[in-house]
Amino acid sequence: MTAHAAAVRPRAHPLIRSHAELLILLALLVLSGVVHGWNMFGYPYFENDEATYLSRGWAFVTEGRLDVHTYRYDHAPLGWIAVGGWLALTGGGAVFGGMLEAGRVLMLLVHLASTGLLYVVATRLAGGRLTAGVIAVLAFSLSPIGVYFHRRVLLDNLMVLWVLLAIVLLLRRPLTLGSTALSGLVFGIAVLTKLNAVFFGLGFLVLLWFGARGLQRKHALLCWLGAAGGTVLLFFLYALLNQELLPAPIGADGEPLRVSLVDTFGLQLGRGDFAWPWDPASSFLQSVGSWVAKDWYTLAIGAVAGVGLLLLLLLHRFRSPGTLAVVVFLLSYLLFLARGGIVIDLYVVPALPFLAMALGLLSAWLSGLAPGRMRGLAATALAGTLVAGYAVVVDHRHLDVDETGNQEAALAWIEREVPVDAVIVADNYVYPELAQEGDYDDTIYFFSAEYDPESRERYDDDWRDIDYLVLTHEVVEQISQGTVPRVAELLAHSELRASFTEGSSSYIDLPAGISTNGDWAQVYATKSRNGIVLQDAWTRFRDDWIVDYGQVLTTPAGDTTSDDQALAMEQALAEGDEATFRGVWQWTGDHFRHRADDVLASRLWRTQPDGTGALVSADTDCAADQRFIGLLVEAAGTWDDPALHGEAAALAADWWVECTFERGGLRLLDSSADGSVDDQLMNPSTFDPALYRSLAVALPEHDWLRLVDDGYAFLARVLDERGTVPDWIVLDEDDELASAEPVIGPGADALGEDTLRLLPALLVDDAQGDARAAALVDALAPLVLAYADAVPGLASGTASTMLAAARDLGLDAEALYRERIATRIDPTTGAFTGGLVEFAWLHAWHRLQDDLPTRSRVALL
């Protein structure tokens, strides 16, 4: 015994035992680095979570907070603290051209470190057989599913690094308590990097049990558990000190008053429904399916190796600690995966090094069966077979496919087209570049936009104040899972501005909530308030009043009018609902267009309670007919359908014959193609100058502009002679204005609701600068207001609100809007309340908002 033997710390066995071994390891690292690094910025696509961790890391190093918004204890924070450290070291995205890229470079380094550690662990556990290390590293680095996930900035990759390091520390021989405690500490870091590392705990206990000797064992277990447990406990302590550990009290609004670790954990543990792992619908089997699709080869040989190693363990009667440890690591993680709860695709990551280890250990044993000098040959043959397998049977998308180009293009588009003060709700992949590297301070992660109160403040907790939505695979997935109803609402009420799907391998069906890959991106702009109201109104209209394949049916009267059919088509066209547009037009054609001499539509159909129906009047409504013409022309352009244009032209030809007439040198509008020849019953509200101006371009065979001029002239005459514009006018053979009361009934000669229908058309032309329209509006304004006082109601209410916004009449248009119109919107559905008549008035008011220049609009609630 030497002096001070007790004082001398025994030298540990070296990790690498010879120069030859060092060369082999270096070669493996180079191979691993090349396979990982080649095209690592191009594949796979930037996943939402990657940017989440990067942005949190950056927030940590720049602002000292654990999340860009409120930290909700969804993950333990050490992972992105490490990522933040790397970003601080490399100046955010400065060195590598962006944070996402910087993150991927970090992952390359992490992968190389993990590869080196894996080599050491596999070799050590196989009792020094370097075959084990080589094979394990080859499988670990060449596996496509490995490359796919290892390139991503995932907590799991960092966690695996820590776990492997913790294992290496326990493989020191002789094992010291110092090394053991350090291993515990590192394992604690692994757990605080990604909590599911705890499922490897059992394997560590095996290593500890066999690594420590005699009297040392209990202290070793205690040291390891103390170091690991203490480290993990700090996380809970952190929550406790922040008063965020225990379940949060619920506020008056039913929302928790603060975040809570316990609540979040409870929520996450409850994610997904329980399903036995052998249930085909289970999250576990579905994930297995997805893994097999990505890389069946690695999974197959890994599974075979796992089972083989288990058999080997039985053969050796559990006397091989290394084998036992790997089997325990694998089995305990498998039990976690198969526990019946939710399994996410990336959960495969922590299993990969252990599958590789199993393969390495089994290969080492197999090659060890060969006689003496043949062993090296056998090992080489095994390694060669493995590599050949990777060269031949799996695809190599990871080396050449560009999955990030579309994402980059979407980012570039935003930076080019979107103002920096816009509120952008997005998949997080844009967050670091827009919000942290750029000046788009109001970029909000879509999950935060949904749930984080602090983030919701940024758009006043009203999704209509969000300007843009960056839609990706992940957002679609969450929407289809129903986890982000507010974002779903947002998407439903926005318009596609830019789509980047070129070369995407994804099958995308947004209405069905399907996307199969993340290599695309789209930017949507939220509709205006008015657009949103009109959309929700349309939804209600369609649901409540359109029956069969396109009949607008009012109950209980059972009436269907050509005007209502036109209203339906107008909305369908505005909302891009082609199917309904065509359905309604088809129904109109099938039921209304049976007149002998023309193709115009009859005016009224009545459906009996038993479902049968018939035309009540074969007469047409010229106002409805002209709307059909305008709608068909516009639809023909929108959907690029010349047939619709043809129908419009045919309709227009008959309309000119049946619905216009000349008298006194003016081309005037008849109210109905009712066969009356002499006295013409006219409805002034049929006059629609904006429509005629557009038809003048689309259907130049008719002199539409003359209708405009003559219409204004006639209205001026009416105003002059009558002092008002009445609901109805009869123009007799002698070109004299006569009373309409004998035909229509009392009140027909006075200003009424029909007159009011004329207002929007005049206001639009007025806004365009037509002096004739302006004069008419000026003249009508006091009359309309007087009428509104006398006959309060929705019709006069919307009319006076229109006038208040257009003219200085001493009225507050906004107040009128709030009082008369906004109150008629159902706060939950966003649609108009009331029946079809009320609907038409409200629709007309909101439609006018869209047709007016911005300065003439009312700011909507």
Partner: protein
């Protein structure tokens, strides 16, 4: 400004506590770090043929009742009688003890026993210096009159001195009655960890707070450094530091079967008094400043931290209300608060280590430890820390009071000279509460 200052204050305190807890835990577990250390710390497997002669110093005052039995057992040591001399050192007026020693010598035929009479003022240092002057043999050791010493101790020590380069050898001393008082479990474990593990660490570093007995010196070394300091009140620590300054090499041997067995203080009050005395002894050494001359910064820090710990603890205790006020009124950065909790976590690890230690102690000594004792160990953990704190604060206030009370202590201690046992330096746990380097001072009344 004030907030930053408070934060910095808490932060620094937390870091010191953390460093001390970590160091303490590392020292406590030192011997278990590797199996090799466990092996090397024990006794030699085989004994070499006897070579060294031993002079055993037995300072005794009014020990007539036990001195005979002690001599008889030492006489039965399995070592050649001609290589051992037993020097019983008594004051001239202590007739009873002298008579008892002479009686034992005759009755058991112990020719190797000599009774040396100390003239003039009584005092343990004087007694031992007299013994040193009379010593015939190369190795000198000290036992207390009531010690239960292993018969193989001389063979073990002789073999170690032959095999290794060693000048000072401390052999294990162990309190045995783990179930006699509510605090004895912890007290026993302090000895267990101190002699079995922590002392090895100090020996490796070359600066050891020595135990009060079963410690072996080379007579020439003692003579070279001038023996025990008769004027100093903390002569053993003083001696340890001087031997370290002289570059002497220390070794520690702990073997469960061959420890010197002692008992815990007979009451809680006695425990506090004993601990107060040790702590106050530390302050004395600290003030003397000789430790600052230790040859390396590492040794200075090591011994210095051991000496300073109880005072630091007293300061921490004294400022406990301040900490509570800070905690209640100031919103400290969470990371600072977090850090201040880390020593607490380590204290829990320490407690768990104690449980393992109690198990090992029982196994070592062939004693069955009942589950209740483990439970009591846990339950008494905090009260025991309380005792240590009380003792530390008490020592501090007594020292600050200025009169120090040493004269009185020495005076009263003369009645029971040599009955103070071998003190361990307990591992700081909840807070760094440590007991002093063993100071051979008579017990307070």
């Amino acid at each position: 400004m004030l907030h930053s200052a408070l934060t910095a204050f808490v932060l620094v305190t937390a870091i010191i506590l953390l460093a001390q807890s970590v160091t303490s835990l590392m020292q406590t577990l030192y011997i278990w770090d590797t199996p090799e250390r466990i092996r090397a710390a024990g006794r030699p497997k085989r004994y070499l043929p006897p070579k060294h002669g031993f002079t055993v110093l037995l300072p005794a005052r009014h020990e007539a009742e036990v001195i005979g039995e002690t001599l008889r057992r030492l006489g039965e040591a399995q070592y050649p009688r001609e290589l051992v001399e037993l020097l019983v050192i008594c004051t001239a007026d202590d007739y009873a003890t002298i008579a008892a020693a002479e009686d034992a010598k005759g009755r058991h035929g112990l020719e190797q026993v000599r009774v040396v009479v100390l003239q003039g003022e009584p005092g343990k240092s004087r007694a031992m210096n007299l013994g040193l002057a009379e010593a015939r043999f190369e190795l000198v050791t000290i036992f207390d009159s009531e010690d239960d010493v292993s018969p193989e101790i001389f063979s073990i020590v002789d073999t170690i001195y032959q095999q290794r380069t060693v000048d000072v050898l401390q052999c294990g001393v162990q309190l045995m009655d783990h179930d006699s008082h509510w605090f004895s479990g912890h007290n026993v474990l302090e000895y267990f960890f101190w002699f079995k593990s922590r002392m090895h660490y100090f020996a490796k570093e070359g600066a050891v707070p020595l135990g009060g007995n079963t410690v072996f010196f080379r007579a020439e070394d003692l003579r070279e450094v001038g023996g025990w300091d008769e004027h100093g009140l903390t002569e053993d620590a003083d001696l340890g530091i001087r031997l370290s300054l002289a570059g002497r090499r220390f070794e520690v041997m702990y073997d469960a079967q061959h420890v010197t067995r002692e008992e815990v203080p007979h009451s809680t009050g006695a425990f506090v008094k004993q601990r107060t005395r040790w702590n106050q002894g530390f302050l004395q050494i600290l003030r003397k400043g000789e430790w600052l001359k230790l040859p390396s910064a590492r040794k200075v820090v090591l011994i210095g931290s051991v000496l300073i710990a109880p005072s630091f603890m007293a300061v921490v205790i004294a400022s406990a209300p301040l900490f509570i006020i800070i905690g209640a009124t100031t919103k400290l950065p969470v990371l600072v608060s977090l850090l201040s909790f880390a020593p607490l976590l380590l204290a829990v690890v320490m407690l768990l280590t104690s449980i393992v230690g109690l198990y090992e102690f029982g196994r070592d000594q062939g004693i069955r430890i009942s589950p209740f004792r483990y439970l009591l160990l846990v339950l008494s953990f905090i009260p025991y820390q309380g005792l240590l704190m009380v003792s530390a604060v008490r020592a501090m206030t007594r020292e600050l009071a200025g009169s120090r009370g040493w004269e009185k202590t020495v005076h009263t201690g003369q009645h029971r000279l040599g009955a103070q046992g071998a003190q361990p330096v307990p591992a700081p746990v909840l807070a760094p509460v440590t007991s002093p380097v063993p100071v051979m001072i008579a017990e307070a009344s």
